[in-house]
Amino acid sequence: MGDNVAETGSPDHDGNASTHRSDRETLLNASGLTKRFGDILANDNVDLVLNKGEIHALLGENGAGKSTLVKMFYGSLDPDAGEISWNGRKVSINNPAAARELGIGMVFQHFSLFEALTVVENIALALPNPGKMQDLAKRVETVSRDYGLPLSPGDIVADLPVGIRQRIEIVRCLLQEPQLIIMDEPTSVLTPQEADQLFVTLQRLANEGCAVLYISHRLEEVKRICHHATILRHGKVVRECDPTKETAASLASMMVGADVASVSSGEGEAQVGQTRLTLQKLNAAAATPFATALNGVSLDLKAGEVVAIAGVAGNGQGELFDAISGEMRVSPDMVLLDGTPCGNKSITWRRKQNAAFVPEERLGHGAVPGMKLSQNIVLTRHSTGDRLVGGGFVSNAEAGNLEQRIKKAFDVRMSHDDPEARSLSGGNLQKFVVGRELDREPGILVVNQPTWGVDAGAAALIRQALIDLARSGSAVLVISQDLDEIFEIADRIAVISRGFLSAAEPAAQMTRERVGLLMAGGAETQGEVA
């Protein structure tokens, strides 16, 4: 079984890549894998060859079929057609236990750990023969130290930060001595430093002959650590390449199938005007045991600038957004719009002050899944003077006009006119939800994770729209986990960590390293001093 099987992509790009791979032995060879869900062909005749000791990137937009493919490798899904051979032998992987038996391990994007148990207990739960707890604890300690992912077996998971929790998942995989590790967006929850640490581990695994199938949206890191990349689009393999010989832009255009417009921040410096939004020592207790408390958050947002708040997920971003939008009420003086204290005012009042909000979760928060797009426009604009409501009656005609306008301006693609929100793809719905607010030309816009899970094309469009809004004189606050995005669009950057916010500093003076240190707790100490 040779590497030539894999080279189904266009030869002009991957000629060099194949030589780069040729000295390796084939570990997994999938051919003709097909999986259908109802009308959707999630995987269409997919061929993929994984070599031993190779870090292999699986790239594609959301819905391109990456998860479906790896789930077939991991035994969670059964292919409708096609076959998988493992070490040259044809196998059928009926369930995850069979996959682990073969030596295939998987690290999920969302962890499956019991918070109330210790590290070693969690690991024991996943092993077929955990043996004595003390012996296992020793093994965990040695293996984790060996791979540069040190763990204390006795720690309770609930007390551990996300980066360490991911280590547990990885170590759990390693203990089963896998020949292939599948990782689904492993760095989305890590600080840059934590990600670097992970990359070292992956390199080492690869050197030992273990293969890694790596799913990520972060093209820079794919370029940095992956030996080979397979690109999926609409369930088909469209290209294979050596990512080290590509640019992030060329990888993105392969995924999207078209050139992705680069974002331009306009002419020169931002023309900064008056302060529009002020946060003063914003405190809020955690509403539930899983929420994060906000601790003395202060920030000034001025007209004409984009301020970005960086941070790893779950550090208080959602709570901060809710306090600014008015979904969570706080003391009046903690939030000021144009100098007016409004911490206890409703979201409708704030919208009438020409503020607009886009929450992180599009479906179920930003939009009602089972309602048509035109109805979803009424959701946030019923009281903003758009003539959508008169005498208590909703004007479907006006809502329909707005829907058409937003659809055109933001290139929202739909199979038929005015569909239910749930039927749109993530990227299209995000364009709609952002477009719905931008269409108002708000003076203050607060966006949480504007391009989370959105394909490259839509992300570029949204980012450009945010910059354009700021350049037209509005104040824009972006809360994001994506550092590439933040450095692309922000004029000033602050970092949130465990509910503390660092001072916003000019983006030009910020480095990724500094942001990473603030993410890892620097913001906290800074916040406490301030």
Binding site: F37, G38, K71, Y74, G75, S76, L77, D78, D80, N94, N95, P96, M106, F108, H110, S112, A126, S325, G326, E327, S346, I347, T348, R351, F357, P359, E361, G364, H365, G366, A367, V368, P369, G370, M371, Q375, V378, L379, T380, H382, S383, V389, G392, F393, V394, P419, E420, R422, S423
Partner: protein
């Protein structure tokens, strides 16, 4: 071979209309099976149950009489269910409404003028609303489960009625029978359309139509639908979940209370230890069979009223227990809820062997 449910991308409009029809058909089929198991001719049984009541003037009038409270209560419940507030206690709100509405004719029988009836109806609505606000306040204040509290209050209301008609409100000239005095003419709901129906019926239809417009066209109706489907999105829209809980319970209670007052003022003309053959519970089925849409509820109200009359019909004609009506009502609710699945899912036959997928997490 096996069946699989596949999620649709959008709600199916066709299924939203078809699902109640399929449910009624399946219920009729099940009823036929029950008739034949108990040794009766299923076709005769179905005819007596579903068709015969529609062929005679008196049974048609009785059907309208029974449908009226079901429709009015069902409309209020629809508002609750649309906004995700599970009011199961309409039966109690119906009874307390009837008690409030009876205060004038029972305690002040000499207060007889043009204002008597309107005041009675107003009191009835207020009484039902107050009773319904108890579980609503418990929910908004203490996060209590409104299904339990509203249901429990049904029995409290029933006992309250029982106590009053046996004690303080008993008719002084009634030979100690547990019933209140007969209402005066001024306190009696007049009949309309040549005696075909009481005034309650046109009032109910008017309220249902108004409610249909409110739900479909106004911002309040929009708020109700948004809150029911996605409370988080509703709060993002600036709507108050607590406010809507209070509103929907008060509205449902008021309509149930109004129905209760109209029942005692029109059909019964006095208070009895029991004034409802379970209207408040049957109205739950009416609300769902009518797709939580007031116009649909008008139709569904007739179908369920038919089951009361039909139950009596098969009992007298065929000797089948009257309880068959409850069984058929229960089956109907079961099939309605089951068929509703088809609005957002479609059935697919899978013929190929396929190991079921383990959840993706280990």
């Amino acid at each position: 071979m096996r069946l699989e449910l596949v999620k649709r991308k959008e709600h199916s409009q066709a299924m939203a209309l078809l699902s109640p029809l399929i449910a009624v058909t399946l219920t009729a089929l099940s009823a036929a099976i029950i008739f034949s198991i108990t040794g009766h001719n299923p076709l005769v049984g179905l005819y007596k149950f579903f068709i015969e009541p529609l062929t005679q003037q008196w049974s048609l009038e009785a059907t309208i009489d029974k449908a009226t409270p079901l429709i009015l209560i069902g409309c209020g419940l629809a508002v609750c269910y649309l906004s995700n507030n599970w009011n199961i206690g309409a039966e109690g709100q119906f009874v307390v409404g009837a008690l409030f509405g009876s205060v004038l004719p029972v305690l002040f029988p000499s207060f007889e003028n043009a204002a008597t009836l309107p005041l009675m109806l107003l009191f009835g609505a207020i009484g039902g609303a107050l009773w319904a606000l108890i579980p609503a306040l418990l929910k908004t204040r203490f996060n209590t489960n409104e299904i339990l509290t509203s249901l429990m209050l049904v029995y409290v209301a029933g006992l309250l009625l029982d106590y009053l008609v046996r004690g303080p409100w008993r008719d002084p000239g009634g030979y100690n029978f547990p019933e209140s005095r007969i209402f005066s003419d001024a306190a009696t709901l007049p009949e309309v359309f040549g005696g075909m129906m009481s005034l309650a019926a046109p009032i109910t239809i008017a309220i249902a139509v108004i409610l249909a417009v409110v739900l479909a066209k106004t911002l309040k109706g929009f708020e109700i639908r948004v809150m029911g489907e996605s409370p988080r999105a509703g709060s993002f829209a600036g709507f108050s979940a607590k406010g809507l809980t209070l509103f929907s319970f008060a509205l449902a209670g008021a309509l149930a209370g109004l129905a209760g007052t109209m029942e005692v003022s029109g059909a019964l003309n006095q208070l009895l230890p029991s004034i409802s053959p379970g209207y408040g519970f049957t109205a739950i089925i009416v609300a769902f069979l009518g797709r939580l849409n007031p116009i649909g509820i008008i139709i569904a109200g007739f179908v369920l009223a038919l089951s009361y009359i039909g139950g009596e019909g098969v009992q007298s004609a065929m000797g089948v227990s009257n309880e068959i009506a409850s069984v058929i009502q229960g089956l109907l609710l079961f099939f309605v809820l089951a068929c509703d699945t088809l609005i957002l899912y479609r059935i697919r036959m899978v013929t190929k062997r396929s190991t079921s997928a383990e959840a993706s997490h280990v």
